[in-house]
Symmetry: C2
């Protein structure tokens, strides 16, 4: 096997640093932040993913518990209402896709902004959009931090995002604009994807289409953050055709150990921040009552 010429980016060190910060923050609480992760028991991949997350949550000082989504849409809504009301739960992360009949935004509205750590409650999405302190969706935040790790300052950088979802592409555009990058959002209806990605210094791809990004999509030396993780008969694959871009791209993130661990660390940080805000608000309410 030939040696790779394009550098592979792994996010494990960056994730470890973020987790250390989170653990320090969490240590200021009486008891560890508690986050319930809801997963679909019929989705083996999602279940394995959150079990790996839960195993590393202790690194960020978090007590993470996994639960199955209830059996019907109505039961799931009742389940989320109960989580929203539970005094001993600080946050809930809901793995997508939700079971049939449930919508992510409806679920986030039921959960409420305080315990939403996926950035899907409109108040949280709006705080990000409008420039107030926010808890951005973890994947978007992870892409920003990886880009800053690789480039330093992002001012004036040309970035193409492939995939304009409300959970990755769009909030990432907001974060990159706040960092003064120029941002192009591409998606399945884009007429000429390569025309946009070929002029970018950084391409962030989150399409879930293995092999989508080849050498013709990149300018020489370009950096690619590959956020997609698609299960294939050959294992987990991102959007980048690694063999095709080798020696042409300057750097490509590893799948799944590139942006992935940083995403998990950003989710953990959102959980710790949600716990801090909630416990502070509870303390305030107690003081006001006395």
């Amino acid at each position: 096997m030939a040696e790779r010429k394009t550098r592979l980016f792994k996010g494990l060190d960056l994730a470890a640093r973020i987790n250390t910060e989170s653990r320090t923050l969490a240590a200021g609480l009486d008891t560890p932040p508690v986050c319930l992760v809801l997963a679909d028991r019929d989705n083996a991949g999602a279940r394995a993913y959150c079990e790996r997350q839960a195993a590393t949550a202790a690194q960020a000082g978090i007590d993470m518990r996994i639960a199955d989504y209830a059996g019907t849409a109505n039961a799931i809504h009742a389940q989320i209402d109960a989580i929203a009301a539970a005094a001993d739960i600080d946050a809930a992360a809901m793995l997508l896709p939700l079971p049939h009949g449930c919508e992510p935004v409806e679920a986030a509205l039921r959960l409420g902004p305080e315990k939403d750590v996926d950035g899907l409650h409109p108040l949280n999405a709006g705080r990000l959009a409008i420039g107030l302190p926010a808890r951005p969706p973890a994947t978007a935040m992870a892409c920003l931090l990886c880009a800053e790790e690789i480039f330093g300052a992002l001012r004036g950088l040309d970035v193409a995002i492939v995939g304009a979802s409300r959970i990755v592409g769009r909030p990432l555009a907001t974060l990159l604009l706040d960092a003064e990058a120029t941002v192009t959002l591409c998606h399945v209806a884009t007429s000429d994807l390569a025309a946009h990605t070929r002029v970018a210094d950084l391409v962030v791809t989150a399409a879930g289409v293995p092999g989508l990004i080849g050498a013709g999509h990149l300018k020489p030396g370009a950096v690619v953050l590959d956020v997609a993780v698609t299960a294939t008969p050959d294992g987990l694959r991102g959007d980048v055709d690694l063999a095709a871009v080798d020696g042409h791209a300057g750097l490509v993130s590893h799948v799944p150990d590139g942006v992935g661990p940083v995403t998990t660390a950003c989710l953990f940080r959102n959980i710790v921040e949600a716990a801090l805000a909630r416990r502070r608000a509870a303390l305030q309410a107690t003081r006001t009552a006395h």
Copy 2:
């Protein structure tokens, strides 16, 4: 004077149609929607602008009243708190820039999401970002409607936005993505503005820099929506150098009668929708209490 070869777009007909729809909606209410417009008495341009708006508000069935911002930041905050609590006011529009010491988002938070018709309350910005029914900022919505008027469907269209503000460029990007256009957001830190605008089918410019957009910024036949209105010794000017792009651009919007009247009509529609929602909620509360 030579005849212009590039078509000029005026939004007066489109605005009249939107206003007719709004008037029909408003006619369903017992009394007309009441909107207070706050303007800085020291800003003659802004004052003239909202007086023109108020004069046409009746076309949309709205009772629009102009008030001066109070004299100090604290007094303005108290003024907004009073508007938020007033039973006989459905909405408030706050002309930017706010007087010294006041922040638009702080003002929108005090006003509350129900009476915010500028799309600046985080809950309203978030509803737009997350795909819930929303009242988008009027200028952004007006650009979308003008683009649809000119192009029909926007799917696959390449759009460059010049200016990534939270009140125009960013919400417009969301609206265009919802319409399946490909969107590039440029701004003052963009390294090579012309490289981005030159490949766009549609350029929306909101920079406030007269003469910024010349022929070298546009591909032949491109459409330009010029949202900027800058007061100069020669009168109101947009960002487009009309003499330079004449015969090269396919269509340029008139300043101020292109996107401008549509923006006003979209503000009126936001006001009518805010009034409908508020009166409906009040009725609901009365019924629940009985």
